[in-house]
């Protein structure tokens, strides 16, 4: 337990989600252990008495997340309502509490996985592992970042931006851009052994995290060799992949896919219908933001865009499709593969993330992912500037 507490405290820092020395984590089996002493541990410890949890995390997020989350929380009623896929699937809404008290925190965590206290930080928990607390914390940061920027673009067009909103936007925009001009060199195919495939997947996963194309345990990676599709396991962090790859026969002749990524079917269909070798999936922020920026003013599918958008949309030349996690009529395993069957090497799932492919290895897939996200980032700021120009204001 102590090892896990330390691991996720360190991971929050290394992922840029919290400042060094900031995260406060506790784990409970029969005794509570904390990662460090803090004056708030006594208050937080009482949460273990009223909630069926085994781990707890409290931290003020790093910038720009702190400014963004404080901004959204201060203007939220009882909760923040992001509409990205991570939030829709796992969190529904992000409760906000007005005071740092055991009572208000417990009240929120009785029904949801996180609570945000403006000016203080975010409290999350795990029922079986501190990893859950880390995943939730990371998703709150991601969801709020996406929501803030989407709302900002809308308000820029409507001419309703406030000075506070602009200040937060400027702060976020001034953060260093982690996207390099040239992609890093990756292992080249064709891969002639299963172990070469595994090493290529490990590397692609690690780079996807390193270049901030995905957070916590989201995203997935696959590589086909012959009749086997090697794919990351469900809930595996892409920077910890050794031992976390399932080799799934393409003909479905074994149940090896039981522990595979929930997007196994999508990867399988993409590989089968496009003939590609490598499939990479991440949640890069600006691809996700722009996938939800739709100019249509009135639409009878409003609120259902993520599953039923009937339009053929694209962002920076990349098709955007609706689709919820998994298979079925509205699942992305159904809606996404046709994009790749028609010759594209990148596709965005509305409000969710980006899939890219490589013909023989991950070099194309990774380069495409980086360039799509870089283009989307530029396009986002261009649209914000355009909105200002359209309203006769000076461009940023």
């Amino acid at each position: 337990m102590e090892r896990l507490i330390r691991k996720y405290a360190d991971k929050l820092v290394s992922h840029g989600l919290a400042a060094p020395g900031e995260p406060l984590l506790a784990g409970l089996d029969s005794e509570i252990v904390w990662n460090r002493p803090d004056k708030r541990t006594a208050l937080l410890a009482t949460l273990f008495d009223t909630l069926s949890i085994n781990s707890l995390l409290f931290a003020r997020p790093a910038q720009p997340y702190a400014a963004i989350i404080d901004y959204l929380a201060a203007r939220a009623d009882e909760a923040i309502f992001p509409i990205d896929c991570e939030s829709r699937t796992f969190f529904h809404d992000l409760p906000v509490a007005r005071e740092f008290s055991a009572k208000t925190i417990a009240a929120a965590l009785r029904r949801r996985k996180s609570v945000t206290i403006p000016g203080e930080g975010i409290v999350t928990f795990g029922a079986v592992s501190p990893e859950q607390a880390f995943v939730t914390f990371s998703s709150v940061c991601f969801a709020c970042y996406v929501k803030f920027h989407l709302d900002y673009l809308r308000d820029a067009r409507a001419g309703t931006l406030t000075p506070e909103q602009r200040a937060v936007f400027e702060l976020a925009a001034a953060m260093p851009n982690p996207l390099p001009e040239t992609p890093p060199a990756v292992r080249r195919g064709p891969f002639t052994s299963d172990s070469a495939v595994l090493e290529a997947i490990w590397e692609a996963g690690r780079l996807t995290v390193e270049y901030h194309m995905v957070d916590s345990f989201f995203g997935n990676v696959s590589c086909r060799r012959g009749d086997t599709l090697f794919i990351t396991q469900t809930g595996s962090s892409l920077d910890e992949l050794p031992g976390r790859i399932d080799g799934c026969p393409m003909d479905g002749s074994s149940c090896a896919g039981l522990t595979a990524s929930s997007e196994l079917k999508a990867h399988h269909e993409i590989a089968l219908r496009s003939g590609c070798t490598a499939v990479l999936h991440g949640h890069p922020k600006f691809s996700v933001i722009l996938s939800m920026d739709c100019p249509k003013a009135h639409c009878d599918r409003e609120g259902e865009c993520h599953i039923k958008c009937p339009e053929i949309r694209s962002v920076c030349g990349v098709p955007v499709v609706p689709g919820e996690v998994g298979a079925g009529q509205f699942g992305l395993a159904t809606t996404l593969p046709p994009v790749f069957a028609s010759g594209h090497t990148a596709g965005i799932v509305y409000g969710h993330g980006l899939f890219t492919t490589g013909a023989v290895d991950f070099s194309d897939a990774f380069a495409t992912m980086l360039s799509v996200e870089r283009n989307c980032r530029e396009e986002y700021f261009r649209r914000v500037a355009q909105a200002g120009l359209d309203r006769g204001e000076a461009a940023r």
């Binding site: 089996d29 069926s52 029922a127 079986v128 469900t234 809930g235």
Partner: protein
Amino acid sequence: MSVKKQELPACDPRGAYGLALGYATSTAGGDHLRAYPITHEVLRKPVATDRFTFSGKARIIKISEDANAAVDSLTACQFIFFACSLEEYSRAFSAVTGQGASAQQLLNAGERIYYNERMMNATNGFAAADDDLPARFFTEPGSSGDGIDVHPIDRADFLQARANYYKVRGLNENGMPTREKARQLNLPWND
């Protein structure tokens, strides 16, 4: 090969220590579905836990037993809970019954159910000696493969995890319910 004279399911507890503890503490005898630790120890839901350690497992098993007691009472299929949680089911429960309930309130109901079962078992003479695994699991290795060695379970580690479980569950060191905990859960207590 049984716990409380209930034959064990097909899964070997030497390959998953939460499962080992869950078999032993199950009020119904050797049953993989009471705490269902296979979800996180093998199937990685909601996240993966290390299957070869008892660390943290006492509280996990207790919480899962409570959760599954609630799930069973909702007459919901346990396998649905790979994808969703009581957070979603509390909304369904509220919609159907008209009684608002949070996920935590359903877990509290599950805890009362499970503690009540412990009390019924205690009345029928069950104690710590019955919360145990067949001796073979502590002396013989399991079938190894794929680079994974399956060792016998360390007896001292198991007993420590069981003691932790008793503490977390509010039982005494012999696994017996206490008047104090029963009162806290609003369960009737007969001397």
